[in-house]
Amino acid sequence: MAYVRQVLVVMVKDLRAELRTKEAVNASLSFALVVLLLFSFAFDPSEETTREISGGLLWIVFAFAGTLLLNRSFARELGNDCLDALIAAPIPGSALFLGKALANYLLVMAVELIALPLFGVFYNVRWTSQFWQLMLVVALGTWGMTVTGTIFSALTVNIRLREVMLPILNFPILIPALLGAMQLTSALIAGKPITADNDAWLKMLIGFDVMYTAVSVFLVETVLVGG
């Protein structure tokens, strides 16, 4: 119980700090909207091919907009040397990591849930036909993106070019999760539910989330204080 409480304390602290300034959320949301708008000019929304690649477009927007939020996760701790105080506190590194990952997850999900209806409008797509399955894919894909983004945010926190390093490190690792999420999202937006034909992507997405959560929880102490 104490462990869960520690995770929640860190999560609430991060959410409260972000919602007071809204720096990262505003930047991420604005970025997502601008890119969705620009893509809608570049691709004809009435074209069938545009709908076929809509899952890919959507996840590219989610990935880049999410990176803006994830970049702030540990960077927020640098001001006033707050990371020292967190590392000095008697909580496991994994509780610190999970608290931050959960806060990031909620923030990234909020941005995505605002961007989704706008995506439907800009691309003239009925994205709600498989609503709950789409929500499941968005939830799983976002957790994969958040968990790897949070651990790389910790790894790059002391690097001067961390804003650049985070996507460079994170996106190659994310390829399997993004691939699965893109394939499933495109199918679901086209009205095709997840069946035995394409559930391998869903299994891969779940496997990715489980594996990278376990690896991150295991490695975070080393990332924060060295080997």
Binding site: A2, R5, Q6, V9, V10, K13, R16, A17, R20, T21, G79, N80, D81, C82, D84, A85, L86, I87, A88, A89, P90, I91, P92, E221, V225, G226, G227
Partner: protein, 232 residues
């Protein structure tokens, strides 16, 4: 058992040894003043003792245990160069947060007590980003003392403090020593530090050049250690 022990500690930044075979102890109730020129390794040693990074070789022991053990961390309070509190949170929210992280039974009540002890009770709901420098420093002191640590690690604690914050810190440090707590502090303010210190250690280029009890000669002439054991 020593409250703090550094046993043959080496710390490398790349190939550069910032600490070289450091052997240092502080008994319970002692106040060890770490002195040395800029770049001598004082901050690196304090951060390694605090468990922020692991030594390349050797061991740090706090009451016989690793500084990374959760129970050991509960025993330590650290004030570094930064104030280690969040600008976006209020003074009360900051202290309550750390009270919860340290597992205090009544974090809010303890936070309010410490805000009163440091003279910040009237601004408890104010955001830290709106505080003056002196108020921020007093809040940092409250944060470090909040959980009743038995070992206090202070990195240049008097540097850049205003008069009121110096008075608050000196009072709290005297009380801590009277209660048998152990203090290890790095400092350039020799006069303030030597008044409190029971022991002195001089670091030269990552090595301990002197480690011993503070003497009357050191108090009357704060440059005495440098004159006898410092580099030419």
């Amino acid at each position: 058992m020593n409250a703090v022990a550094a046993e043959g500690v080496w710390k490398f930044y790349g190939d550069f040894p910032a600490l070289r075979n450091v052997e240092l102890t502080a008994a319970p109730g002692a106040c060890l003043a770490l002195i040395g020129r800029n770049g001598a390794g004082k901050t690196t040693l304090l951060r390694t003792i605090a468990g922020f990074s692991r030594p390349g070789k050797g061991e740090i022991k706090i009451f016989g245990n690793s500084p990374r053990d959760a129970e050991t961390r509960r025993l330590m309070g650290y004030i570094g160069h930064g104030i280690s509190v969040y600008d976006e949170l209020s003074a009360l929210e900051n202290l309550t947060l750390f009270g919860k992280l340290y597992g205090l039974p009544e974090p809010r009540k303890t936070a309010l007590e410490w805000l009163e002890r440091t003279g910040l009770e009237r601004v408890k709901d104010g955001l830290v980003r709106e505080f003056s420098r002196g108020m921020r420093q007093r809040l940092a002191v409250a944060r470090a003392f909040l959980h009743g640590p038995k070992v206090l690690l202070l990195d240049e604690p008097f540097t850049a403090l205003d008069d009121r914050a110096i008075a608050v810190l000196q009072r709290l440090l005297r009380e801590a020593l009277a209660e048998g707590k152990t203090i290890v502090m790095s400092t350039h303010q020799l006069r303030e530090a030597l008044e409190l210190a029971t022991h002195v250690a001089l670091l030269n280029r990552g090595q301990v050049a002197f480690h011993g009890e503070r003497t009357a000669a050191m108090v009357s002439d704060p440059g005495w250690v440098y004159a006898h054991y410092g580099e030419a």
